[in-house]
C-alpha cells in the first residue's frame, strides 16, 4: 500500500508537469494581451513596453516556461500581472471558500440523492420513482445561474430568510458562514444531486438483477438485509467514484455560481484571471485544481480496496 501511494504520487508529479506545459502553450494561443488589458484603453506605448518588461513577457517563450517550472518546483508560482502579488498566496487564500462550498454542496447532494436514488430503484415504476426521475431531469436541465437567481429572489428577497450573497469565513463565524453558504451550496448541490440520483438509481437496479441478489432472496433473507448487505455494498463502489469526481470538479470552483453569489473562491479567481489574461494566476489555479483532482483520485483508489476486498492495490 505504501509503495503504491508513493508510486502514484510520483506519477502525479509527471502529470502536473504536463499540465503546466499544456496550460502554458494553450495560453499562448489565446488571443488577447495581458499588458494591454491591464492598461485599459487609455494607454501610452512607452508605459506598455515598460510594463511588458516588468512582467517578463519580452523574454523568449522557452525561457519564460523554464523559469516558471523552475520556480514552481520551489513553490513559487510567479507574480500576478494584475495585482503584482505572489500567485501562490492568491490561490491558497481562495481555497477555503471553494473547499467549504464544494464539500457542503456534495454533502447536501449525497444526502438528497442517496435515499432518493435507492428508493427509486427499489420501487422502480412507482410514483416515487417517477417523481425522482422528474426531479433529476429538472436539476440537470435547468441552468444553475437561473436557479441561483430564483433562490436569491425567493429566499433573500420575498422571504428574507437568508443573505443574497457574500462570504464569511467558517473559522471567523460558523453561523454567519452557514447562512451564507446555504443558497450557493443548494444551487450547486441540486445539480450534483440530480446527476447522483440517476446514477445511484441505475447502479442499484443493476445490482438488483444480479444472481447473488436472487439467491439471497431465495434463501429467505429479509428484504432489509438483502438491500443493506448485498445490494448497497455492491452498488456503492461505482457511486463512490462518481461522488469523488463530482467533488473534484466542484473543487475546481463553480465559476458561474461563485460569480453570482460573490463567493471568493477559486472559480471566481479563474474567471477574473481569464478576463484579464492574468496568465500566472490562471496557471496557478489550474495547477491547484489538477493537484486536487489527482489527490482525490488517489484517495478513491485507496478507498476501493477498503470497500471491496477483491480489489487490492499494489
Amino acid at each position: 500500500m505504501g509503495r503504491f501511494v508513493i508510486r502514484r504520487l510520483l506519477q502525479s508529479g509527471v502529470v502536473l508537469l504536463g499540465v503546466t506545459l499544456v496550460v502554458f502553450l494553450l495560453l499562448q494561443l489565446v488571443p488577447g494581451d495581458p499588458v494591454r488589458v491591464a492598461l485599459g484603453t487609455r494607454f501610452d506605448p512607452q508605459t506598455y513596453e515598460a510594463l511588458r518588461a516588468r512582467a517578463g513577457l519580452d523574454r523568449p517563450l522557452v525561457v519564460q516556461y523554464l523559469s516558471y517550472v523552475g520556480n514552481a518546483l520551489t513553490g513559487d508560482l510567479g507574480v500576478s500581472f494584475r495585482s503584482g502579488r505572489p500567485v501562490t498566496s492568491i490561490v491558497l487564500e481562495r481555497l477555503p471558500a471553494t473547499l467549504s462550498l464544494a464539500v457542503t454542496a456534495v454533502v447536501f447532494a449525497t444526502l438528497v440523492a442517496f435515499p432518493l436514488g435507492v428508493l427509486s430503484a427499489l420501487r422502480s415504476g412507482s410514483p416515487l420513482d417517477h417523481a425522482a426521475r422528474v426531479f433529476s431531469q429538472f436539476g440537470v436541465s435547468v441552468p444553475d445561474f437561473w436557479m441561483g437567481i430564483m433562490f436569491i429572489l425567493l429566499f433573500a428577497g420575498v422571504l428574507g430568510w437568508l443573505p443574497p450573497s457574500g462570504y464569511v469565513a467558517l473559522t471567523d463565524d460558523p453561523l454567519g458562514w452557514a447562512s451564507h453558504v446555504v443558497l450557493p451550496a443548494v444551487t450547486v448541490g441540486l445539480v450534483t444531486a440530480s446527476i447522483l440520483t440517476r446514477f445511484i438509481r441505475s447502479a442499484v437496479l443493476e445490482v438488483l438483477s444480479e444472481d447473488y441478489v436472487r439467491t439471497a432472496e431465495a434463501k429467505g433473507l429479509r428484504t432489509r438485509v438483502v438491500v443493506l448487505r448485498h445490494v448497497l455494498r455492491n452498488a456503492l463502489i461505482p457511486v463512490v467514484t462518481v461522488v469523488a469526481v463530482q467533488l473534484a470538479s466542484l473543487l475546481g470552483g463553480v465559476i458561474v455560481i461563485e460569480v453570482l453569489f460573490a463567493w471568493p473562491g477559486v472559480g471566481r479567481l479563474t474567471y477574473d484571471a481569464v478576463q484579464a489574461r492574468d496568465y500566472p494566476v490562471l496557471q496557478g489555479a489550474v495547477l491547484l485544481v489538477a493537484a486536487l483532482f489527482l489527490l482525490i483520485n488517489l484517495l478513491v483508489d485507496v478507498l476501493y480496496a477498503r470497500l471491496d476486498p477483491r480489489i487490492t492495490v499494489r
Binding site: 492598461l39 484603453t41 501610452d44 508605459t47 502579488r85 450573497s165 479567481l269 477574473d272 484579464a276
Partner: protein, 512 residues
C-alpha cells in the same frame, strides 16, 4: 476608458449637487449628533461590480480600484461637483508670465494615515515615480520638464510648453495620488496603501471585501462614518437584492433596465446624473470603402440615435452628435445628421459602395455595445449595408483594435474632462488612440494649437472648429452621453452622485 480607465479633468458640468466641505477644512453641521442622529458613525457597506486589481494608485487602471482609492488618497488639486479644479493638498498656485512655471503652495500640517508628514518631497516623489517608471498616468506629464520642492510647502513644476489643462492633468483623478515613499518601497501599497485621505485601508480579503476605517488624522472635515466596507458583487440583480435587503447601503451596480422605475421610488434612493463619457461608432479608414467620407457619412445618416440609445441604455443617456456633453462649458451644439435613408443610399451610390457587408466589432465587457450593435445592424440593413456583428471578450477586442482587424467598432471613452482628452489622441493623425486611421491636416493643426492655447475663449473656438470638422468627416460617429446611476439606502444621507463617477463617502452619514 472603461472599467479600466478612469481619468477626469475639467468640463464644467452645471450640476446643482454641491459636495459640502470637500475643499476646505471648515466643519459641517449635521443634524442631531445624539444617539438617534444621522451622524452617529457606523460602517457603510458598498457593493461595487468587481474587485480592484491592486490598490497602488499609480499602477492600477481599473475603475473598481479608483472607487476605493477615491476615499483613501488625496491629490494636489481635485475636481469639485462641477468638475472645476479646486484646492486639495495644494491651497493655492501661481503661474509665471510665460506660463511655463507653476508654483503650488501646500497645506500645512498634513500627515499620512500612519502619522508621517506629507510635504513637498512627497509630491515630488509621487510625480517623479509616475514619470520615471513610465506608469499609467505618465502621458499626463508630457509637457512637464521638472518637479521640484523649493521648501517643505512649495512645489515648482516647469513645463516645455504652456499647458492650460495642467490642473486637470495633475489632479483629475486619484491616479495622480500623492503616495508615501516608505509604503511604496515596502511593496505594501498594493494591498495596504497609506494615503492622506478621509479613510484608510484596514483590511483586504481577496475576492470578497476591502475594509476602510476613518482616518482620524485627516486634514479636512472628519468623516462621520466609522468606516466603509466595499464588497464585490458582479451580478446587478444580486447587488440590488443586497441593497433592498439592507446587507449593503450603497451600490452603483444596478440592473440598467430597472433604473427608470427605481428612480421613481424612494427606498432605495436611486439617482442618475449625466456623465462625461461618450459612446461612438468608428469606421476603419484604412480599409476600403471606409476611407471614403461619403460612405462614413452615409452610415451617419442611416442611424437613428434615439432608437439606439433607448435599446442600449433604457433611456439613461442623452443623444449627442459631438463628444462633449451638454452641461459642459465646452459643449458645442452641432447635429448635422438626421436619419435620412434616401440620402444615405445616395451617398453610398456616389461612393460606388452598393451591397456593402460591414464587420462590426463589439465586446461583452460592455453589454450596451452588444445591444446597440443589433439596432445598428437593423438600421443599416435598410440602406443596403449588411452588418456582421462580432462579439468578443475585451482582451481579444483590444487585440483586434490594435491590429486594425475591423471594419467598424463601437466603444466609449469614460471619465473625460478637458476637451484635449475628448479629441486629441483619438483624431490627431499621430494620436495614440487613432486606431481607425483618421487624418486631416486642419484638425491636426487646430488640436495642436488648442492644446497650448491659454486664452479660454480662443481655445473653446479652436475646439469647436475641430469638432465640426471631425463630425463632418464622420471620423467618429458619436452616439450618446450616458448617465451615471447609483442607489443607496434610506439610512444614507449626504451622498451625491458625481458626473465623473468618483465615489466620495467623506460627507456621508448613516442613520442607525
Amino acid at each position: 476608458m472603461s472599467r479600466t480607465r478612469f481619468g477626469l479633468a475639467g468640463a464644467a458640468l452645471a450640476l446643482t449637487l454641491g459636495v459640502t466641505g470637500c475643499s476646505a477644512g471648515e466643519g459641517v453641521d449635521v443634524d442631531g449628533a445624539g444617539p438617534s442622529g444621522a451622524s452617529a458613525g457606523g460602517v457603510l457597506t458598498a457593493a461595487i461590480g468587481g474587485e480592484p486589481d491592486q490598490l497602488d494608485p499609480h499602477r492600477t487602471s481599473a475603475y473598481y480600484s479608483f472607487q476605493v482609492l477615491e476615499n483613501v488618497y488625496d491629490t494636489l488639486v481635485e475636481p469639485d461637483a462641477n468638475l472645476e479644479m479646486k484646492p486639495a493638498l495644494a491651497t493655492g498656485w501661481t503661474t509665471s508670465q510665460d506660463q511655463l512655471t507653476w508654483t503650488f503652495t501646500l497645506r500645512e500640517g498634513v500627515t499620512f494615515s500612519d502619522g508621517s508628514a506629507l510635504d513637498a518631497e512627497d509630491v515630488v516623489y509621487s510625480f517623479n515615480r509616475i514619470i520615471s517608471e513610465k506608469l499609467n498616468a505618465a502621458y499626463r506629464f508630457a509637457t512637464v520638464k521638472t518637479v521640484t520642492a523649493a521648501n517643505p510647502t512649495t512645489v515648482v513644476v516647469t513645463l516645455s510648453a504652456p499647458t492650460p489643462n495642467l490642473l486637470a492633468n495633475l489632479g483629475g483623478f486619484k491616479g495622480l495620488a500623492i503616495v508615501d515613499k516608505a509604503n511604496v518601497e515596502s511593496g505594501k501599497v498594493k494591498t495596504a496603501p497609506v494615503g492622506s485621505g478621509p479613510f484608510t485601508v484596514a483590511g483586504y480579503t481577496s475576492g470578497d471585501s476591502i475594509k476602510l476605517v476613518r482616518n482620524d488624522r485627516y486634514w479636512g472635515t472628519k468623516p462621520k462614518l466609522d468606516g466603509v466596507t466595499f464588497t464585490f458583487v458582479k451580478d446587478p440583480t444580486v447587488a440590488l437584492q443586497n441593497l433592498r435587503g439592507g446587507e449593503v447601503q450603497w451600490t452603483d451596480n444596478l440592473p440598467p433596465q430597472q433604473v427608470p422605475a427605481l428612480r421613481e421610488g424612494d427606498d432605495p434612493t436611486v439617482r442618475s446624473v449625466p456623465s462625461t463619457d461618450y459612446w461612438y461608432l468608428a469606421l476603419n479608414q484604412a480599409r476600403k470603402p471606409y476611407g471614403d467620407v461619403n460612405v462614413r457619412r452615409a452610415v451617419a445618416f442611416a442611424l437613428d440615435r434615439e432608437a439606439i440609445t433607448k435599446a442600449a441604455k433604457f433611456g439613461l443617456a442623452t443623444v449627442n452628435q459631438t463628444a462633449i456633453p451638454k452641461d459642459s462649458a465646452y459643449y458645442y451644439e452641432y447635429a448635422p445628421y438626421q436619419r435620412n435613408t434616401d440620402q444615405a443610399r445616395q451617398l453610398l451610390q456616389q461612393a460606388g459602395a452598393n451591397g456593402l457587408t460591414m464587420d462590426l466589432m463589439v465586446t461583452s465587457e460592455y453589454p450596451e455595445t452588444v445591444t446597440a450593435a443589433q439596432v445598428i445592424a437593423a438600421q443599416l440593413k435598410e440602406v443596403g449595408i449588411t452588418v456582421k456583428i462580432r462579439t468578443l471578450d475585451f482582451a481579444q477586442w483590444l487585440d483586434e483594435q490594435d491590429k486594425g482587424n475591423f471594419d467598424a467598432f463601437m466603444l466609449g471613452w469614460l471619465g473625460n474632462i478637458d476637451p484635449d482628452e475628448f479629441y486629441y489622441a483619438q483624431h490627431h493623425s499621430g494620436g495614440a488612440f487613432n486606431f481607425h486611421g483618421y487624418r486631416n491636416a486642419t484638425v491636426d493643426r487646430l488640436l495642436d494649437q488648442a492644446r497650448t492655447e491659454t486664452d479660454q475663449a480662443a481655445r473653446k473656438q479652436q475646439y469647436e472648429q475641430a469638432a465640426k470638422q471631425i463630425v463632418d468627416d464622420a471620423s467618429y460617429i458619436y452616439l450618446y452621453n450616458p448617465d451615471v446611476a447609483q442607489g443607496w439606502s434610506k439610512r444614507v444621507s449626504g451622498y451625491e452622485v458625481r458626473t465623473d463617477r468618483a465615489i466620495r463617502f467623506r460627507d456621508v452619514a448613516l442613520a442607525r
